[in-house]
């Protein structure tokens, strides 16, 4: 994780100054502004944020499923955003995506074998018996049985469907997988199975992964690095452990404190935010979080806070972060006393 504007050597993917605007009937939505981060090879980067934060858009832009409005995404030394449609097709093999909705992400009219097979066919990875074998192998890898290839998606439960989606992504042996809320539509008891599968695969195959989620505990558990988005801007990013242990941005703090913990005795020093997320059509000036920030001051409305490094690989976009950190330090000491 780095804030350098140059691509990081250890990064498989470096996103720089990603911008995305959507024209809508009632104006332009700034879905992403100046988003830069690195995804380290073999690591899992978590992108967290609430609805409207742009986390899903970011994932789609990297894969060019949505055309970005600006910036670059250097994947293994090549800017994906500059590739022609044809060149991109070859790169598609190396980057894959897993979707949130296990229902709409599988074509209901195709057999599971064909869904996975399509990936194999498109990149001419295997034919005939080899192809079938490969499908069986992939199904086995995600915990399904070979005979499932003949069935249609609707014959499976949500968790099983998500496994099929993972098998499809794995079929082309990608290096990077973008997982867009892969477990949030699943029942709690099934979520853990899929999370386990994903991290097993990640470890076994040495995959690099971008994990997009609104579930902070899942991200904390799964990810090595974390990017916190709010209204299309990065609020804070850094190694997951550090950010969770020592959140420096007021928004990160709020977010973490808002997560309900399944422990009735847990201490809840919750910061309740006022108001709602502003409309991305008309985002606040300066710091986009200032309208809800308990620590906002006049200056927050005037300048877009720059990213400041607070430690190695940990950066925060808050003009008051140092000041607030000092205060907290003081309070903590007081508490200790």
């Amino acid at each position: 994780m780095t804030n350098a504007s140059e691509p990081n050597d250890g990064a498989l993917l470096s996103v720089r100054n990603l911008e995305k605007q959507f024209p809508t009937s009632s104006g332009t939505v700034r879905a992403l502004s100046d988003v830069s981060f690195d995804v380290r090879r073999g690591c899992i980067l978590g992108i967290v944020g609430e609805s409207g934060s742009g986390k899903t858009t970011a994932g789609r832009c990297i894969l060019r499923l949505i055309e970005p409005s600006g910036g670059e995404a250097i994947f293994d030394g090549v800017d994906l955003f500059k590739l022609s449609e044809k060149e991109l097709r070859a790169y598609r093999r190396r980057l894959q995506i897993i979707f949130q909705d296990p229902y709409s992400s599988l074509n209901p009219r195709m057999r599971v074998g064909d869904i996975i097979g399509e990936a194999i066919d498109t990149h001419r990875l295997a034919r005939g018996a080899a192809r079938e074998e490969r499908i069986a192998q992939l199904l086995g890898r995600v915990g399904l049985r070979p005979e499932h290839a003949r069935r249609y998606p609707h014959e499976f439960s949500g968790g099983q469907r998500q496994r099929i989606g993972i098998a499809r992504a794995l079929a082309v042996e990608p290096e990077l997988i973008i997982a867009d809320e892969p477990v949030s539509a699943l029942d709690v008891s099934v979520q853990a199975q899929v999370l386990n599968l994903m991290q097993e695969l990640q470890q076994q195959l040495g995959l690099t992964m971008v994990f997009i989620s609104h579930d902070l505990s899942v991200v904390e558990y799964l990810c090595d690095d974390i990017v916190v988005l709010y209204l299309g801007r990065i609020m804070e990013m850094g190694p997951a452990q550090e950010v969770y242990a020592n959140p420096r941005h007021p928004y990160t703090q709020v977010l973490l404190s808002a997560v309900p913990v399944a422990d009735p005795r847990a201490k809840r020093d919750r910061i309740i935010l006022k108001g709602d997320i502003p409309s991305p059509l008309n985002p606040p000036s300066g710091c986009v979080f200032r309208t809800r920030c308990p620590y906002a001051v006049q200056a927050c409305a005037e300048i877009v806070p720059p990213r400041e490094d607070v430690s190695r690989d940990h950066s925060v976009a808050c003009i008051r972060q140092a000041e607030l950190a000092g205060q907290r330090e003081f309070e903590n000491q007081e508490n200790l006393l």
Partner: protein, 288 residues
């Protein structure tokens, strides 16, 4: 209200039993099948040649000899009704196929390519602004009346309906994750259109095509009735009613039987269409 929130209904009953569960679909299929069989086998079934004149026997009421009576030329209305079924069904089917060919192509193109969409969607909208019969009449007037032009005109008239449905569905499907997944895999656009989009449109297209079939048959009858359709000596149910119009009140059977034939054919098609919609639309099936 999602009552049984279990997403996967275990086991899928076979198609046949699904059909049998839907009485109306079954009735529709049986009636439609019977009409088709009668029409196709008309040469075997018809007691008389459809054009055989027998002037001495003109305008005979239905009897054991002429089940549906005879027309003003003494032709057997029963024989003519089943022969007319051939052409009425042919016009309906051919117009539907043509409408489907045009409509699906336009709809897919419009739904898939944003640039083409502006123009195609506008043309679809504009075509929909013409009442079907009126547009058909005008087209037939422009092309000259004949069996072929009626088919072409009706094909053109109903194409926008399919195009609109295909376009709307394509616009929705295009945004679905499984399309994104295919794009992420690098599947070429044309294959996405055929494999992912069109294949998922089979049900709505089939359902709509059934209705268009029904409408096209009604429209053909209307055109023939107005005297701007198929030429009057060609027996279709429409031309038979048109010919019988002069004898309403004196030889009602001339209009009655072809009229019943139309109603039955159109009704059975609608039953089938409705039944298919029930059967194929998973949203409705879930509620059942």
């Amino acid at each position: 209200m999602a009552v049984t929130s279990s997403p996967a209904i275990a086991g899928r009953p076979g198609l046949v039993s699904l059909v049998f569960q839907r009485k109306s679909l079954l009735i529709g299929l049986v009636v439609l099948g019977a009409i088709t069989v009668f029409a196709v086998l008309a040469p075997l079934i018809a007691p008389y040649a459809p054009n055989r004149l027998s002037v001495v026997n003109r305008l005979q009421p239905p009897s054991g000899r002429w089940w549906f009576g005879t027309d003003e030329f003494g032709r057997d209305i029963f024989s003519r009704t089943i022969y007319a079924g051939q052409l009425s069904l042919l016009v309906g089917a051919a117009a539907t196929l043509l409408a489907a060919a045009i409509g699906i192509t336009l709809g897919l193109v419009a739904g898939f390519f944003r640039k083409a969409d502006g123009i195609v969607a506008r043309i679809i909208d504009a075509m929909m602004a013409f009442p079907d019969i009126l547009l058909a009449i005008s087209l037939v007037a422009a092309l000259g009346p004949s069996l072929a032009t009626v088919i072409v005109a009706l094909g053109i008239v109903y194409a926008p309906r399919l195009a609109r449905i295909v376009r709307a569905s394509t616009l929705i499907i295009r945004e679905l994750p499984y399309i994104e997944a295919a794009r992420a895999l690098g599947v070429p656009t044309w294959r996405i259109m055929l494999r992912h989009v069109l294949r998922n449109l089979v049900s709505p297209i089939l359902v709509q095509a059934t209705f268009i079939f029904a409408y096209a048959m009604l429209a053909e009858a209307s055109l023939s009735f107005l005297g701007v359709g198929v030429s009057p000596e060609v027996p279709t149910w429409g031309t038979m009613i048109a010919a019988g119009r002069q004898y309403v009140g004196s030889a009602d059977w001339m209009t009655l039987f072809p009229g019943i034939a139309i109603v039955l054919a159109v009704l059975s098609l609608q039953l089938v269409g409705d039944g298919l919609r029930d059967l194929l639309d998973p949203r409705l099936r879930k509620d059942l």
